[in-house]
Amino acid sequence: MPKKAAEKKRTEMIGEDKKEVGFASFNILRKFIDKVIGSIFKKKKHIKLGLYGPPNGGKTTLANRICIDWLGEEMGSVSAIPHETREIQVKEQVNIKSGKKELSFNLVDTPGIATKIDYEDFVRKGIKKTDAKKRAREATKGVIDAIKWLDDMDAVLVVLDATKDPYTQVNITIIGNLVARNIPVLVVGNKIDLRKADLKGIEAAFPQYDVIGISAKLGKNIDKLYEALFVLVD
């Protein structure tokens, strides 16, 4: 993309996010009170960490990677067919360590957020029509639940497929909603092991956020992601 065009797109993104602050004031107050109470009782950090993003970005692969690393077990099944995760999945008490620091969180893996779901797409991937219709129904419910759960998150990793165009309205809407709710966001560019991956494109699309490139499947840069998590929830 020409430099000038990328710059203009970038400025559009900034413009998208700079409003809608008023509604978040209650959340700011709540988080402030939580922080004060937390510091008084010196409690161990325990938060709800959400994985959000469009379908097939690798949220569940990342959730599995985190769970295998720290709990020794997987969280959910993954598939090349979109909308494999159709229900909110929560893994409680994931404790991660980095040096002397320790972080405890409930990991929340959410269904991919989409604006359209067509059962015929699943049929084309080889799923029987009745199963495809059921999958589509469950997927629509999954999207609704994922949006409902936004308010409950303390921090969110937005997991994007680094081989895909990051400038989609779904990505912008997810991040915009997190910002409006004052929820800390870390953008994760997944699948950097693939040749088509373009992490710079994601960084250009979301210049106001920290972006980290990983391969959840191969574990590439996962240690960096864990370090970034401590910064995110600090």
Binding site: A5, E7, K8, K9, R10, T11, E12, M13, I14, G15, E16, D17, K19, E20, F23, I113, A114, T115, K116, I117, D118, Y119, A136, T140, K141, V143, I144, I147, K148, L150, D165, Y167, Q169, V170, I172, T173, G176, N177, V179, A180
Partner: protein, 132 residues
Amino acid sequence: MSLTLQFVPYNEIEGLSSIGRINKLLKIAKENKIVLLEGRLKKEEEAELIKTTMEEINDDFKGIELGVIYPGKEHGDLLKKLKAGFVELMLGDRVGLTIIGPASIVKEIKKDPNKIELLTTNPTKIGKKKKR
């Protein structure tokens, strides 16, 4: 195959509640028309639009494609920045353009600083679907 674009001026949704706005826009999209809304919805309303769309999906209605064009911050001199800030202060959510297309017609919306591309579904494919 003909495409119908329906322009919705911002003042038509200005006085509506969030739910009212979403229902109005979705109703037009469900009539297989492409909505061109002057301005934009709030971020929470965009999420609510996606949620409501999911609730409405059935064998006939597959969902929507959504695209919002919004002018960014001015990077020029101070005067330009002040001008842009003033325009935003005065117009608020009226600035920009929102496009909502039914997924049965609009396959993808690609945004570019200077243009917006609507990739439509293959007309022959639509024809085949109708025959079934």
